[in-house]
Amino acid sequence: MLVADDEPPIRLLCEVNLSLAGMEVLQASDGEEALAAARSQAPDIILLDLMMPRVDGWTVAQKLAEDERTSGIPFLFLTARATPADRRRAEALGALGYILKPFDPVRLAPVVAEVVARCRLGETDAIRRERPATLWPADLDDG
């Protein structure tokens, strides 16, 4: 899996917990790195921050979809932007989930593992339809 975030603490937390869950964790500190890694390494899933230097998360998601090598890779947003408009935009871009910071990296690990497992079974669209609460938290800011 790939975690793309310009904040080292977030990358560290993901690495520690997801590795412990048996996943191989790739890291990218901005959008360009993320796109490069996605194309070259073909991860099973991408955790994507929105506010990143150079290329932001929105653009990354768009470009992933445009490229046939990466269009099949499921992705979740992991962000501090907590407005309903952002979440609607994420949904429109085909994200599997929209996880708000702060988040519990310990619980995130099995959730991501399950998503990966189901995607391998070809249930990507089913997850999109189900919109499980674990991937779409409700506590958004009103602003």
């Binding site: 310009d6 412990l20 506010m51 150079r54 932001d56 407005t83 910071k101 702060p102 602003g143």
Partner: protein
């Protein structure tokens, strides 16, 4: 007519005196006829008897006296008696009825002839005298009638004069006058005298078309003279049932200029032979009565007209005297009583559509109070088929010349007490007129007369209608004036409010625009009024599109961005209200509110984002460290611990900034004023920064000359410099040099912080010091921040009476310049 009832009343007055005088005169005649010759015959007993010539002369004297006093029969009797006396006592042979000689017989016969002639002469003289006396009496009576008629000023006085004097003058037993009513169809007995009190029971009024002598007399303008009851019954068989001794009856029309206004009837005690004299007398009486009645009618009409005109003039003056129409109408009601009405009530329609009794007037104030209480106790039924509500509904006057009992019963609505009260009031005649102005019923005036006053006529209705028209116009004027005044006040008020108001007429042209609206829309009032706003107001299209209401509706308020003068941002809140005569738009400049609102929402978004990231790190690290299901590598554990430390510090810094900004906003932050060395302070800031400086940043400090101590808050200046250094490092993502230079600049110490990082475009130089302002994310390359650092720096420096500014170019780094006043 029941004019032929037997007269049981005694005849009184001069007519009676005449006949008794006449009777006594006749008795005296007889006395003279008997006593005269008797006395003369007794002269025979005297020793010295008078000569026969003297006796003859005396006897002729007695005959003349008897004839003169007693008329024909006493005269004749006296003549015979005198002839016998002369023959018996004074013609030889005396005491023998047969004359002695032919000469003597001739003498007696001559005497007889002379006596007869003298008797006839005096009888005739007496008759002539009688006739002359009667004529004089008739003339006197007629004159009296005329005199009384001339004095009469009211119809009643005329009638009294005609029936009292007239009956006498006509030598009748009783008389009556009937007048044609206003409807022209009914005859009404208005005066009668000499009849039994119940003689006209059921005959007070009767139709003109009826088969009665008076109706016919009026109808055909023809007089009837019936010498006897039989004659009357032959002509009018319907009257045959009326019993009583046969008597004469005269019925004549009362004619004015050939028009019959009524009829007059005279009933006589006995049968009468209506000779020409008598007929002429009756005709004269009728004519006099008719003229007098007409004169009085004209006089009354003229006086009534004058009274009406006076009333109308007074009322008009009153109505024009004040704009307080409620007070005016109350006075108007008082003006109407008692001349125009016994009761006058004025009701008005109040703004909510209900009807309020404004005034009740009556001569007696106690009655007014009583009526007002009654009105409250028994409010009028809005659905009643007659009355004020109906008049207001139909805007048509109600005219009830004679209030029928049924109407009172209907008005009482089955309430016995109310019905009794209403009956006791004796209400006779009523007019209710609406007060209508410009098609709207504003109220109603009700005039009521009781049975002490005459019935209302069409003339009164006309007067009331005219009065109502004027009163309504006065109310309307007062209302319009008040409205105009109110509008005047409103427009004065509008000139001073901060909210903009634009009024459009039905065609969509600007009727008025207040100064606030002109200011908000950046237009000149004079250039806009009377014009199509779309052509004269630049932002009008947007306003119309977003706030133009449908007819009768309200739309908005809605906030709109306008193109402000000078290209700045301007927001207005606009709402439109459509009313009868056009549309009114209310505008408010909400730019301030809008900016504040955006600040708030920016703050929430920024603070939320800025707090979430370090919080996520701290929270995630703690949860990871506390995991018991797996063992965490000690190296990773240490990295997490360090992360908690660093991110908690960052969190604390952000919270500190937010609190500081809040304190600055509310003015709660108090800065110390102390003297300190700016160079030492700057060095300590650089030293602290060195501790966690990225490897690719080269931080230097340059102090080319002496810098004297400054006055201010050392801690806060440290905060400012730390923030500027942090920014310089943050916005140099590719690394580079960060240089601090200190120098004296006049009365200030100048500290410059330069980097060769991303730089700031020229048009952003002002705005970066605004609260929450952040450069376009594309320019910041993902550099985070609360947007408070520079705002806080600027506020702090300015509160130390210093200045802060920036020199920068995109891609070529930035130099922030802080100047702090030197200590004196």
């Amino acid at each position: 007519m029941a004019a032929a009832q037997p007269g049981r009343q005694k005849e009184r007055g001069t007519t009676g005196n005449f006949s008794s005088l006449r009777r006594s005169s006749t008795a005296l005649g007889w006395a003279a006829a008997v006593i005269g010759p008797a006395i003369i015959s007794s002269l025979d007993l005297l020793a010295n008897r008078p000569s026969p010539r003297i006796i003859g002369f005396l006897l002729l004297l007695a005959v003349a006296l008897a004839a003169n006093l007693g008329g024909f029969w006493p005269g004749l009797f006296a003549t015979l008696l005198a002839t016998v006396t002369l023959d018996f006592f004074y013609t030889p042979p005396r005491h023998d009825i047969v004359p002695g000689t032919g000469d003597e017989f001739a003498g007696v016969a001559l005497f007889f002839v002379v006596a007869v002639l003298i008797s006839q002469l005096f009888v005739r003289r007496r008759a002539v005298q009688r006739e002359s006396e009667a004529a004089t009496a008739r003339a006197n009576r007629l004159q009296r009638v005329t005199a009384r008629l001339a004095e009469a000023m009211t119809p009643q006085a005329v009638l009294d004069a005609v029936v009292t004097e007239g009956v006498e003058a006509a030598e009748a037993r009783a008389g009556a006058i009937g007048l044609l009513a206003a409807d022209g169809e009914t005859v009404e007995i208005v005066a009668a005298r000499g009849y039994d009190s119940d003689a006209f029971s059921g005959w007070e009024t009767f139709p003109l078309s009826s088969e009665t002598p008076m109706a016919e007399a009026i109808r055909d303008r023809e007089s009837f003279f019936f010498d006897t009851t039989a004659e009357r019954d032959a002509r009018f068989p319907s009257m045959a049932g009326i019993q009583g001794p046969s008597h004469g009856l005269a019925i004549l029309p009362l004619l004015v200029e050939g028009r019959a206004i009524g009829g007059i009837a005279f009933t006589f005690r006995t049968e009468v032979e209506f000779d020409d004299h008598r007929r002429a007398l009756k005709a004269t009486l009728a004519q006099q009565a008719a003229q007098a009645l007409e004169r009085v009618r004209l006089y009354q009409a003229e006086r009534a007209l004058r009274e009406r005109m006076t009333f109308l003039a007074d009322a008009s003056e009153l109505l024009g005297s004040s704009l307080d129409y409620e007070a005016t109408l109350t006075q108007l009601a008082r003006l109407a009583v008692p001349g125009m009405a016994t009761w006058c009530a004025i009701d008005i329609v109040v703004p909510d559509g209900s009807v309020r009794r404004l005034a009740v007037a009556h001569e007696d104030p106690a009655r007014v109070a009583w009526a007002e209480r009654l009105g409250e106790e028994y409010p009028p039924d809005p659905d009643a088929p007659m009355g004020v509500h109906n008049v207001l509904r139909t805007q048509t006057a109600e005219f009830v010349p004679e209030i029928p009992q049924e109407l009172l019963e209907q008005a009482a609505r089955g309430d016995e007490r109310l019905l009794r009260i209403v009956r006791e009031l004796g209400l006779r005649s009523a007019i209710t007129v609406p007060l209508v102005a410009r098609g709207r019923a504003l109220g109603a005036v009700t005039l009521i007369r009781d049975d002490t006053a005459p019935r209302y006529t069409e003339l009164d209705l006309d007067l009331a209608s005219e009065l109502a028209r004027r009163a309504a116009a006065a109310i309307d004027n007062a209302t319009l004036y008040r409205e105009a005044e109110r509008r005047g006040n409103a427009s004065r008020a509008l000139a001073h409010v901060d909210d903009g108001v634009v009024l459009l007429d039905e065609e969509g042209a600007v009727v008025s625009i207040n100064p606030a609206a002109a200011r908000i829309l950046s237009v000149d009032e004079s250039a806009v009024v009377g014009e199509d706003p779309a052509a004269t107001i630049p932002s009008w299209a947007a306003i119309e599109q977003n706030a133009r209401p449908d007819p009768g509706r309200t739309r908005g308020p809605v906030a709109l961005p306008l193109l402000a003068e000078g290209g700045g941002e301007q927001w207005i809140s606009v709402s439109g209200v459509a009313f009868g005569d056009g549309i009114v738009y209310a505008l408010r400049d909400v730019t301030e509110e809008r900016l504040l609102e955006r600040d708030r929402s920016d703050f929430v978004a920024t603070a939320s984002h800025e707090l979430r990231t370090p919080l996520a790190a701290v929270l995630g690290a703690v949860k990871t460290i506390r995991r018991t299901d797996v063992t965490i590598d000690p190296e990773q554990r240490e990295a997490l611990m360090e992360m908690i430390d660093r991110e908690a510090e960052r969190l604390s810094g952000i919270v500190g900034q937010i609190l500081l900004a809040g304190q600055l906003d509310s003015g709660r932050l108090h800065l110390a004023v102390e003297q300190f060395d700016p160079v030492a302070l700057t060095r300590s800031v650089v030293d602290s920064a060195e501790l966690h400086l990225p490897a690719d940043i080269d931080l230097r400090i340059l102090v080319p000359g002496d810098v004297p101590p400054v006055a201010g808050d050392a801690n806060q200046l440290r905060q400012v410099l730390t923030n500027l250094v942090d920014n310089a490092v943050k916005y140099s993502p590719q690394g580079g040099e960060v240089e601090l230079r200190l120098a004296r600049n006049g009365q200030f110490a100048r500290i410059e912080v330069s980097d060769n990082g991303l730089g700031i475009p020229g048009d952003e130089h002002e705005r970066i010091f605004e609260k929450f302002y952040r450069l376009d994310p594309g320019l910041t390359r993902g550099v985070n921040g609360t947007g408070l650092g520079l705002y806080i720096s600027k506020e702090l420096v300015e509160r130390m009476s210093g200045r802060i500014s920036v020199r920068s170019e995109l891609g070529r780094g930035s130099t922030f310049v802080v100047e702090v006043p030197l200590a004196v």
